[in-house]
Subunit: 272 residues, 2 copies
C-alpha cells in the first residue's frame, strides 16, 4: 500500500457533510463520494500477498475532521491507502474525471505512512462569511454567507480578542461528541471584507468574513462563536458577557445560537 494525501475543495450545499453516514448509506457525503470513486478504480487490483488481497471494498478515506452538512471547504485534507498496483494512476486527474463538479481534488501527493490527515494536523483555518445588511444577498453568494441585520463590527472585534488564546471552549461545543479535553488555542480571529478568505467582492457589497486560525476546533465551535459574535454585533450581548460565557464552560449556559452551516468554509489544514 502507498499512502496518498488529498487536498480537496468542495461546495457543501448538496451534501450531508463530510462524514460517510454509517446509519444510512444512501445519504450523499463528500467522503462517501470519494470512497465510491476510488473503490471503483482499485477493486480489480488488490496487491498480491497482502491482507487486502481479498478485501476489495470499501476503500476508506480518512479526513482531517468532519465538516457539517452544508459547510464548504477550500482545503480539506484526507489520506487514503492505495494498493501498490494502482500507484501508477494520476489520482488527481482520475478523481476529478469521476467526481461531481462540486467536489474537486486540488492536490494529490504520496506521503509516508506516518502521515495521518487527522492526527498529524497541527492547526486549521476557517472562514465564516456574513452579509450584515438589510439589502438582499446577491444570489451568487446566497449559499455562501449568513444574512443578518446590520452589525457593530467594532464590538464584535472586541469580543473576538477575548476569545483568542488558549481557553476551555466547552461553552462553544455542541452535544453529540465524546471529546473530553475541550481546551483549544485560537491563534487569531481576523475580520476582513470579501468572501470566505478567497474572493474580493465589490466595495458596495456588505460582505464580511471572519477568519479563524487555531490548533483545532470542537464540534460546531466556529459556528457557535459566530452565533455569539453576531449577538454582540446586534447589541443583544455586551463584550463583557463573553468572559462569563467562556468561564461557564457549559454549552447550556451559552444563550447564543449556532450560526448556519453554509457561511462556513474550511480554508486549510496545517501540518508540520
Amino acid at each position: 500500500m502507498k499512502r496518498l494525501k488529498l487536498v480537496i475543495a468542495y461546495d457543501g450545499s448538496a451534501y450531508c457533510g463530510w462524514q460517510a453516514q454509517a446509519e444510512d448509506g444512501r445519504q450523499r457525503t463528500i467522503q462517501s463520494e470519494i470512497e465510491r470513486v476510488i473503490s471503483g478504480m482499485v477493486k480489480e487490483e488488490p496487491d498480491p500477498g497482502t491482507r487486502d488481497e481479498h478485501c476489495l471494498n470499501p476503500i476508506r478515506v480518512h479526513g482531517s475532521g468532519r465538516t457539517d452538512s452544508g459547510v464548504h471547504a477550500q482545503g480539506q485534507v484526507a489520506h487514503v491507502d492505495i494498493p501498490l498496483k494502482s500507484s501508477g494512476i494520476n489520482w488527481k486527474n482520475a478523481l476529478n474525471a469521476q467526481l461531481p463538479p462540486d467536489i474537486r481534488v486540488i492536490g494529490a501527493d504520496w506521503v509516508g505512512e506516518d502521515f495521518h490527515a487527522r492526527f498529524s494536523a497541527i492547526g486549521k483555518e476557517y472562514s465564516y462569511t456574513l452579509w450584515p445588511s438589510d439589502e438582499p444577498v446577491n444570489p451568487l453568494l446566497a449559499g455562501l454567507c449568513w444574512k443578518t441585520r446590520p452589525l457593530s463590527l467594532e464590538n464584535m472585534q472586541s469580543a473576538a480578542t477575548v476569545l483568542s488564546g488558549e481557553h476551555d471552549f466547552a461553552s462553544f461545543q455542541n452535544s453529540g461528541t465524546d471529546v473530553k479535553d475541550t481546551r483549544r488555542t485560537i491563534h487569531s480571529i481576523a475580520f476582513f471584507p470579501g468572501l470566505a478568505g478567497v474572493m474580493t467582492c465589490p466595495r458596495d457589497w456588505p460582505v464580511v468574513s471572519i477568519r479563524f486560525h487555531g490548533t483545532g476546533f470542537l464540534k460546531q465551535m466556529v459556528r457557535n462563536i459566530i452565533g455569539l459574535l453576531v449577538d454582540i454585533g446586534l447589541g443583544r450581548l455586551a463584550a463583557k458577557d463573553v468572559l462569563d460565557i467562556l468561564k461557564a464552560a457549559e454549552r447550556a449556559k451559552n444563550p447564543c445560537r449556532t450560526a448556519p452551516a453554509h457561511g462556513l468554509n474550511l480554508l486549510r489544514v496545517i501540518y508540520p
Copy 2:
C-alpha cells in the same frame, strides 16, 4: 395602474431561463416566479373602474429580453403594471420576502408609463467567464464559468477587435427567432481577470472574463462569439478566419459551437 421598474439579480442554475414557458407552465423560470409572487399579492385588489377590474391573474412582467436556461444576471431589468391599490407596498422588500434566495430584487422604482424594459433599452452589458486551464475548477465557481483547455488570450483579443463595431451578426444568431434585422453594434469586448465583472479572484486562479457592451444582442450571440473566440484561443481557427465567418452572415457557415450557458452573466441593461 402604476408602472414599476425592477432590477433583478439571479443565479440561473436552477431555472429554465427568464421566459415563462407557454407550452409548459410547470417549468420554473425567473419570470414565472416573479409573476407568481406579484399575482398572489395583488389578486384581491383590482383597481375599481379599470378594465383590469375583472382580470385578476396573471400579472405580466416584461423583461428587457430573455436569458437562456442556466444564464445568470446581476442586473436584469423588467417592468410590471401594478394596480393603484397596491402601490403603497414596499415592493422590493415584499418580493424578496417571497422569492427564492437565488432571485433577488435589487431595485424597485416607479417609472412613467412610457418606460418599457425592452423597447426603452439602448444597450446591454454581458460578461462571460472562462477557466482556461488543466487545473480543476474551484467548486465555488463550478456553476459560473466554462472550463476549457489553456487558451491564447492574445489571439482571442485580436479576433475580438474584428468583431467590435457595427456588423451583421447573422453568423452568430441561433435559429428559433423571427428577428429580421441582424445588424448590431458592439461598443467593446474587454478581457479582464476575475469573475463575471463582479468579483476578484486570487491571482493563482486561472479565471478570465470577457465583457461585452453593445446596443443589443441576437439570440445566443454572446455565447456564439465566445464559442468562436475559444476556437481561436485553442488554435483551431486563425484570427483572419473571423472576418470570413462574419461576412458569410449565416449561422450554418460558422463552424464554432455555442458556449455553455452557465458562463454567461447579464451585468446590466442601459437606458437613456
